[in-house]
Subunit: 262 residues, 2 copies
């Protein structure tokens, strides 16, 4: 659809590790957060996988994604219990030894009172050889990076704090610009004008998202690209076509040259 | 960890198709719903992937998953607009012709007033050859099944209605039993008793999930298996060990032989 240059935008894939997501017990909150933070850094998330807490499945997903993407992030499975197997799985994926990371152990011992230290907590310092630590300002137990794979916890508040430090420090790309326009008409009525504008703006992703809320239905149109001028050009074309339909429409952003409500 | 028999439990994988999930704009609501409905039918979700609206990525994911799982479900990309490419991608994945499905067209023409019929809406009747329709009681445009791949829309309210009809009609397995116990202690304090109970109950998945809410922290322990008696046995072992710790605990379900609050 769009022919976006890959040199503008590093790519990322995410592996969400956790039986509880696959069972429906927990709704993942980390993918949306990562998507947003990566987008702000101009890093394009191209795939996500949800896998169980099973070593062979983690290894398979990480190895499938790490050679074809700039960055991989994993979430979950680095706590102190028997079902926390991610660190060992990453060592297996890379074929490197797995053992106690001295700096990680130092941080944990500095954090816990001596009577709280036990084998389970210290196991959070067991990592692949060569791991670089990723700081955890909330609860100390570090994540780690091995080559382009960044291993993070699953607890959303902890992941978010770590990601807020980590992602801005990564080599990013041109941030995505986006522009949204809401039209109170069904997708089927707008499809042909959308297709025409898309054809004329091949470097911009134009997506359409139907909605029904508060008794009204309509379609939100979103134009996205790592180039604000191209997005603006597509936006103007969309507005001109939409105005010509006579449908009611509205917009929430500053790009519109028109009044913000039909 | 657990050695659950695969004959008890058909497996499912889900492919969530949508740029808007990867961009962070939309938070997927379909995976949790599918996970729950599949679990009720005794079908175990073993993987989910989120891919963009790009044909080669959809083909890659569907083909990777359909030979190693009993069922595959895709969500998204079967609407009337130019970015709805899933049906064509499924035809490509199976190497079959793609074209107008007569019954699907009949349903759409029966639903839309003549002046509402246009090429975009009729394109929702374009499907792989050999597709069996999946009924859509909300907005008529059907999903479809090709071999073990079930193609569904992305709009949550429509998917839910379709899934409520579809999944109970699939050949399922022994429904998962689960039992949850909440202990007001950190995971690190419970890890060793959990590991011991897990070792003694290899066919039950025992997971631990830390939480911090309303100023209290703790760990929820969940025991799951497609065998209620095994889950009950693991539950009793967990309760006995937790009682012995003296930590405050509570439970919400009927399996506990003990009072529901410490």
């Amino acid at each position: 659809m769009s022919t976006r240059s890959t040199t503008l935008q590093p790519t990322a894939a995410v592996v969400v590790i956790g039986n509880e997501i696959l069972s429906g017990r927990t709704r993942d909150a980390n993918l949306p957060y990562l998507a947003t933070k990566l987008g702000e850094a101009g890093i394009r998330m191209v795939e996500a996988r949800v896998v169980p807490d099973i070593q062979v499945r983690i290894v398979e997903a990480v190895n499938a994604l790490r050679s074809s993407n700039t960055y991989v992030f994993t979430t979950g499975g680095i706590g102190p219990t028997h079902d926390d197997i991610t660190a060992r799985a990453i060592a297996a994926a890379f074929g490197v030894p797995f053992g106690r990371n001295a700096e990680a152990e130092r941080r944990l011992r500095g954090y816990y009172d001596p009577e709280m230290i036990n084998d389970a907590r210290l196991s959070m310092a067991d990592m692949p050889a060569g791991a670089e630590l990723i700081d955890n300002p909330v609860s100390i137990a570090p994540g780690f990076r091995l080559e382009n794979v960044h291993v993070l916890p699953g607890v959303p508040k902890i992941l978010q704090a770590m990601v807020d430090l980590l992602i801005p420090a990564l080599a990013g790309g041109a941030p995505i610009s986006s522009s949204a326009l809401t039209v109170f008409a069904a997708e089927g009525e707008l499809a042909s004008l959308l297709a025409e504008v898309q054809l004329k703006h091949p470097q911009v992703d134009i997506g359409s998202y139907p909605f029904f809320r508060q008794g009204r239905f309509g379609t939100t149109i979103v134009a996205r690209a790592p180039d604000a001028a191209l997005v603006q050009s597509a936006r103007e074309a969309l507005e001109a076509r939409v105005l010509a339909t006579g449908y009611e429409w509205m917009a929430f952003d500053a790009e519109s040259a028109f009044p913000s409500h039909s």
